[in-house]
């Protein structure tokens, strides 16, 4: 077995939390159950990974199997990477019969015709997600297995999720390969980025909870009936206001969990509005400013602002439109910009 492959497998195993190593190796399926039984998963990770490498040596693992292990790891821990969303376009209206074998063939062919030194691996998942792992090399060097890009594509959809990693120079080639292989015409990067791949999928596939008013005979969720500690001596003075805020919040955010994004960025190219007598800026040019909201879970925190009393309800549509507009990077310009107005007011 190639030394580089051994080292790569060793490092991949080291990334996995100790309690999950056995499960992931089982998913990988390269080592038999009997072989896995021989490993002591309670020792320190260094030793576990050495044992694994030894067993892989016995089975003569090559880079392909090692790459599959890497895909499995990234599929289980996708939040370690940052994902961007790309949108593809086409003008035709015929129904697409997405043929997976065809897609893989076209994709590989296009990449390999431009760059001989690439490692390309595919793995399909139950939810129709196709994971593509690409390790990039140069015309003169072998592919660097530690500089990988990941692509997640659901067939017959116009959205591609790419975690490009360091080598952005290969991005145009990657995009072209995707467009050709999936029978689209062009591709553009959306202003939507996050660590949470599933939340990005929720946003563009519209899987997040939108509060639809229908007569669907679902059992009503017991949301209002939570018995508050009824102390009759306490009088809710602001009950009406509280209920108004709850109602508005529910209308905007829905009932379910919000997609998880970590930041929203607003690039302002608007004029600074001040008292002309103050003469703060004698040149009338746009006041360039970047406003960035960041949070471990931005949308949930926005949802809790009004009920916590930290902001007035309703919140600014600039903040609440994020899932519907499927973007978290905005440019706000004067007049014809996104919304008339200069500053974001939560």
């Amino acid at each position: 077995m190639d030394e580089t492959v051994a080292e790569y497998i060793r490092r991949t195993v080291l990334k996995i939390p100790r309690d999950e190593i056995k499960m992931i190796l089982q998913k990988w399926g390269f080592l038999s159950e009997a072989q896995l039984e021989t490993i002591n998963f309670h020792q320190i990770k260094d030793n576990i990974s050495q044992d694994v490498v030894q067993l892989c040596e016995e089975n003569s693992a090559d880079i392909k199997q090692a790459a599959v292990l890497d895909i499995i790891y990234n599929n289980i821990y996708p939040n370690k990477r940052i994902w961007s969303v790309y949108q593809m376009n086409k003008t035709g209206e015929e129904t697409e019969f997405f043929d997976l074998t065809d897609f893989k063939k076209k994709f590989k062919r296009l990449l390999r015709s431009a760059l001989k030194n690439v490692t390309i691996n595919f793995r399909e998942y139950e939810d129709n997600a196709i994971w593509i792992r690409i390790a990039w090399g140069t015309p003169y060097t072998k592919p660097n297995q530690y500089k990988t890009s990941y692509v997640v594509y659901h067939s017959q959809t116009p959205y591609v999720f790419i975690s490009a990693s360091v080598l952005r120079s290969n991005l145009p080639l990657l995009c072209q390969a995707l467009v050709v292989a999936s029978n689209y015409q062009d591709i553009r990067e959306m202003e939507l980025r996050s660590h949470s791949l599933n939340s990005l999928k929720d946003i563009v596939f519209k899987r997040y909870s939108q509060n639809f008013q229908t007569y669907c005979p679902r059992p009503l969720t017991e949301r209002n009936v939570a018995p508050e500690t009824v102390d009759l001596r306490i009088i809710q003075e602001n009950r009406n206001e509280k209920e108004r805020i709850q109602r508005l919040n529910r209308e905007v955010f829905g009932d379910g969990p919000q997609p998880k994004i970590e930041f929203a960025q607003y690039k302002l190219e608007t004029m600074f509005k001040s008292d002309p007598k103050m003469d703060v800026l004698d040149k009338k040019e746009p006041f360039r400013c970047l406003v960035k909201f960041s949070s471990p879970h931005l949308l949930e925190s926005l949802k809790s602002l009004a009920p916590a009393g930290m902001a007035d309800a309703p919140l600014s549509p600039l903040l609440t439109c994020i899932p519907q507009k499927a973007r978290n990077y905005f440019k706000i310009r004067e007049k014809k910009g996104f919304l008339p107005g200069s500053f974001v007011s939560p």
Partner: protein, 238 residues
């Protein structure tokens, strides 16, 4: 001296004010209780009158059913709830139901395949200035924009009907593919290749005789997006 005297007067005035307030409170309470007594008396009279009336009616109706056909309020409410639930169930069974919203209509398209109820999808439409889709939960691979472009403005019934056909066919195909994977996992060799719309299924299986095993490859193409049965089948022996 003067100050002490003033303090004394102040204390007296304060006491007097407190007493006055107490008296006023007492009077208020009394008035309230009197009013309450009046209320209760009125209610008692009304109930008495009702009881008298009922007794008279019972005496008057000779040979009538002993229990008057006057259902209790509770029974009426229960009947109303039951018939409402039945109505909602009917809407659900037709597959398309709608509710007027503040700015338009919200439709719910329910799908089913051969007696099994599957997913429901929602469409929030605005009606002013023209009919347009505000938001929806239709899967991204259903050609919603195409169908909307053709029918939404002109014939909304047709729009909903076509969309419902697409959705029902999609869930039907998906359900069949899932069932195939679940019940025939032993016979299928390798993985069942499918796609988001489930309009192309490719799989391999073996047919064994006593002497030989023949590997077969099947390719099911569902050409009609509104149909849950394949339009073309290619079976080859590899």
């Amino acid at each position: 001296g003067v100050f002490a005297h003033l303090e004394l007067l102040e204390a007296q005035a304060y006491e007097a004010a407190v007493k006055q307030e107490e008296m006023e409170q007492q009077e208020e309470k009394l008035a309230r209780l009197k009013a309450r007594v009046q209320e209760l008396r009125l209610q008692r009279d009304k109930l008495r009158a009702k009881v008298d009336l009922q007794q008279k009616e019972q005496l008057g109706k000779e040979g009538a059913v002993s229990n008057p056909a006057q259902p209790s309020a509770r029974a009426v409410l229960e009947w109303k709830i039951k018939s409402l639930k039945a109505m909602l169930q009917i809407f659900y069974l037709t597959g398309i139901s709608g509710k007027l919203s503040k700015r338009g209509v919200c439709f719910c398209i329910s799908t089913a395949y051969e007696g099994t109820y599957l997913d429901s999808y929602h469409l929030d439409l605005l009606t002013k200035p023209e009919v347009q889709i505000y938001r929806h939960s239709i899967p991204i691979f259903i050609p919603l924009q195409q169908i909307a472009k053709k029918y939404l403005q002109t014939d909304i019934r047709r729009f909903l009907s076509v969309l419902s056909d697409h959705l029902n066919a999609y869930v039907g195909r998906r359900y069949q593919a899932d069932q195939l994977q679940e019940h025939f996992s032993g016979q299928i060799k390798g993985a069942l290749q499918r796609n988001s719309l489930c309009n192309l299924l490719v799989f391999n299986y073996n047919v064994s005789t006593e002497s030989k095993t023949f590997p077969f490859n099947v390719r099911l193409v569902y050409g009609d997006p509104c149909c849950s049965l394949p339009t073309k089948v290619v079976i080859s022996c590899t």
